[in-house]
Symmetry: C2
Subunit: 135 residues, 2 copies
């Protein structure tokens, strides 16, 4: 058991390290959200920039709270059903802090018995065009 434990530890550290390097390397804005309580588990710098706060402030915060007019339970349900549907639709939301219109593309996976959402965020070009016309 000791040998298995140590090998497990090394393997875990390798995936942990690969995960962290990949999250730091990708230019796509990515947020991990717990399906259970809708809180942000992790996100990268491009995602923090789009939301308009530091990573430290955002990890542990309710994801729904970062957007205008979104209630936590309902918002997570929307993301989960969008992730589980075959449709290529995404969700357009407005970031509370930056007022950026963002498109969210969620996918769902299970890890350690928990549902986790991985959400890619993109600035919404159409949303910005609308803002330009109103300005």
């Amino acid at each position: 058991a000791q040998i298995a434990l140590e090998r497990g530890y090394e393997e875990r550290r390798e995936f942990d390290a690969r995960y962290r390097m990949l999250l730091a390397t990708t230019r796509d804005a990515v947020v991990f959200v717990a399906g259970s309580d809708g809180r942000i588990k992790d996100l990268n710098a491009p995602a923090a920039d789009l939301l308009g706060a530091g990573r430290d402030e955002l990890v542990g915060a309710a994801f729904a709270q970062e957007f205008k007019d979104r209630r936590r339970g309902e918002f997570v349900d929307n993301l989960l059903s969008l992730a589980m549907s075959d449709s290529l639709d995404d969700l357009v939301v407005q970031a509370r802090r930056t007022r950026n219109k963002l498109r969210i593309q969620p996918s769902m996976f299970r890890a350690a018995g928990e549902r986790i959402l991985i959400c890619r965020l993109d600035a919404d070009a159409e949303g910005q065009a609308v803002d330009d016309r109103l300005a």
Copy 2:
């Protein structure tokens, strides 16, 4: 030890799962390369597309072999020194199978006592402009 082992297993599975979902989600082309032998440890679909082969074929292959006129030991040394330097230079190479000119931006990390390179690949716009002029 049994409880620690199980917790380790669950945690490892969570990072493993997060890693795999992130690699599948990012649109940046990313390749992980072992510093010891220069072989591809993992890569995502956008990277496989730029190199012109399937993921299955590329995992375990020598990364240098995917480019024109690159020798394995020297190529890995170049990537490691580029990763360890503060310069923002990247390496321009030509993919052997697709003849795409690609820019490689490597970063280095250590995991389980091993040096691992994470390389972001981008199609080189200047390289393509040169090709267009020659055509």
